[in-house]
């Protein structure tokens, strides 16, 4: 059996940050990730991040992935298993991992679950046609593999992801027919929306997809206006000749592993779905299990790095290896509070207020 002090599931911004923080405290760490390169979804983020310098503000996601991967390589205490899938975690603190077609048992004294989030789908006739793609899939195809997702795209959702992906499509030489948004307001930052408007991409608020048409793949989309009860208004239909409908309608935390472990979960719409109850140190109701990043509630890359670092330090403290934990914790928390401040952080703050609980363990 492979033994490690700390096992981290997921090598995205949260998992990498957790592993680096723990190793900084002298904790032997194993990261298990199903991707082939470290960085998780950072590897397709060509835009520059916001936030503060400590979270690499002003740096493109792809470069942050390389920075974190470089730090990982320089940390002799961190072992990294790529293309490895965590299958389950059991009472005797054994994490079962599939790697190269074999099951490996990993015994760990503490575990950080940083499994990220998955894209949401949306209900409309024809939503299963080839060409209805998640925004992340569009980014993966064009920004990682260099393949255009189509010739002309309809974007659904005017949050930051929808707006950023629209701009990235234009950069890749793909036309964007329009961005439709069910809400009356553009959810993403004005700076992203303005970029699109300068390039004459219409952003239609109070509009959604009525139907996708096509034989073997998307050939056309019908969009219509919706009223204040989100009901379609007959007679307002607009037809778009598009071969891709790109859904940027939010993410849900990937929490299968946490559920299997038996961590107490709670449905919190503001955080994207079921998330584990935890204390302010990211410790779940199972005392040796910590959570980080989008798996703890959907936010963004910068906050994932911070909750990751916090979980890494907290796991180290749990293992008795982080004497300066209170200061490190306060530093992470200050940065998180700054990211979550203001009107754009209101939803996350509301979600956290019901899920961060002393019901979870105390390290």
């Amino acid at each position: 059996m492979f033994r490690t002090e700390l096992a981290v599931v997921g090598a995205g911004p949260a998992g990498l940050s957790a592993a680096l923080a723990a190793s900084e405290c002298g904790v032997d760490t194993l990261i298990v990730d199903n991707g082939s390169t470290p960085g998780g979804q950072l590897v397709k983020q060509t835009h520059k991040f916001f936030g503060s310098k400590a979270e690499h503000a002003g740096t493109r996601g792809i470069h942050i992935a390389r920075l974190l991967a470089g730090e990982l390589q320089r940390s002799p205490q961190v072992e990294y298993w790529s293309e490895s899938t965590a299958l389950g975690y059991y009472e005797d603190q054994v994490l079962l991992v599939e790697r190269e077609g074999r099951a490996h048992a990993v015994h760990c004294d503490a575990l950080v679950v940083a499994t990220g989030a998955a894209e949401r789908h949306m209900v409309f006739p024809g939503n299963d046609l080839p060409g209805v793609y998640g925004a992340g899939a569009v980014q993966t195809l064009m920004n990682v593999h260099g393949v255009k997702p189509g010739e002309r795209v309809l974007i659904v959702g005017a949050g930051n992801i929808g707006l950023i992906v629209s701009y990235q499509l234009l950069q890749a030489g793909v036309r964007v027919a329009a961005v439709v948004e069910a809400s009356r307001y553009i959810g993403g930052y004005a700076v992203h929306a303005s970029k699109l408007r300068r390039l004459s991409v219409p952003i239609l608020t109070s509009h959604t997809v009525k139907e996708a048409h096509g034989h073997e793949q998307v050939e056309r989309a019908t969009v219509w206006q919706i009223d204040e009860t989100f009901t379609g208004v007959p007679g307002t239909e607009i037809e778009f000749e598009v071969d891709v409908i790109c859904l940027a309608v939010g993410l849900s935390p990937v929490t299968d592993l946490l559920c299997q472990i038996g961590c107490k979960m709670k449905y919190v719409p503001e955080l994207g779905g079921y998330v584990p109850i935890r204390n302010e140190n990211m410790q779940t109701t199972r005392s040796e299990v910590f959570v980080a990043g989008d798996a703890s509630g959907v936010e963004e890359g910068s906050s994932a790095m911070l909750t990751g670092r916090l979980a890494g330090y907290a796991a180290a403290a749990y293992l008795g290896k982080c004497p300066d934990f209170q200061n490190k914790r306060a530093e992470c928390q200050r940065a998180l509070d700054a990211l979550r401040a203001g009107p754009s952080g209101q939803k996350v703050r509301a979600g956290l207020s019901v899920v961060v609980s002393m019901e979870a363990g105390t390290c």
Binding site: N34, G35, S36, Q41, T46, R60, I62, A118, E119, H121, D128, L129, P130, G131, V132, Y133, G134, G136, A137, V138, T140, L141, M142, N143, H145, G146, V147, K148, P149, G150, Q171, A172, G173, E216, Q217, V254
Partner: protein, 104 residues
């Protein structure tokens, strides 16, 4: 449908290789996901669904959603959005749940 020029990104690719889609030869780059090679060749319909025989493509492109299952070298239920392309692969659209080829 490959991106030729990009203001930020450069794409490093493996060797150009031939593979087969429904028996027809196609070209792609070694090591890229099979789905990327197919998409670059204009192929988006990857399988037909078990109950209503509906065409399906990929959705998540990172191996989570199982929308892209194809038969690769005779093995069904391969997630082609993450399975890496190799020279000579035999890639076929999956019909329904796919048949397991059990020899013993």
């Amino acid at each position: 449908m490959r991106i030729e020029r990009h203001p930020i990104l450069t794409f490093t690719k493996g060797a150009k290789v031939q593979f087969y889609f429904e028996g027809e030869p196609l070209e792609g780059y070694e090591g890229e996901p099979i789905a990327a090679a197919l998409h670059a060749a204009g192929i988006r319909c990857l399988r037909h669904s078990p109950v209503r025989n509906r065409p399906r493509g990929f959705f998540c492109a990172i191996g989570n959603c199982s929308s892209c299952l194809m038969v690769v070298d005779g093995v069904p239920n391969v997630r082609v959005c993450v399975e890496k392309l190799r020279a000579g692969m035999d890639v076929r659209r999956q019909k329904g749940k796919g048949d397991l080829n059990v020899s013993d």
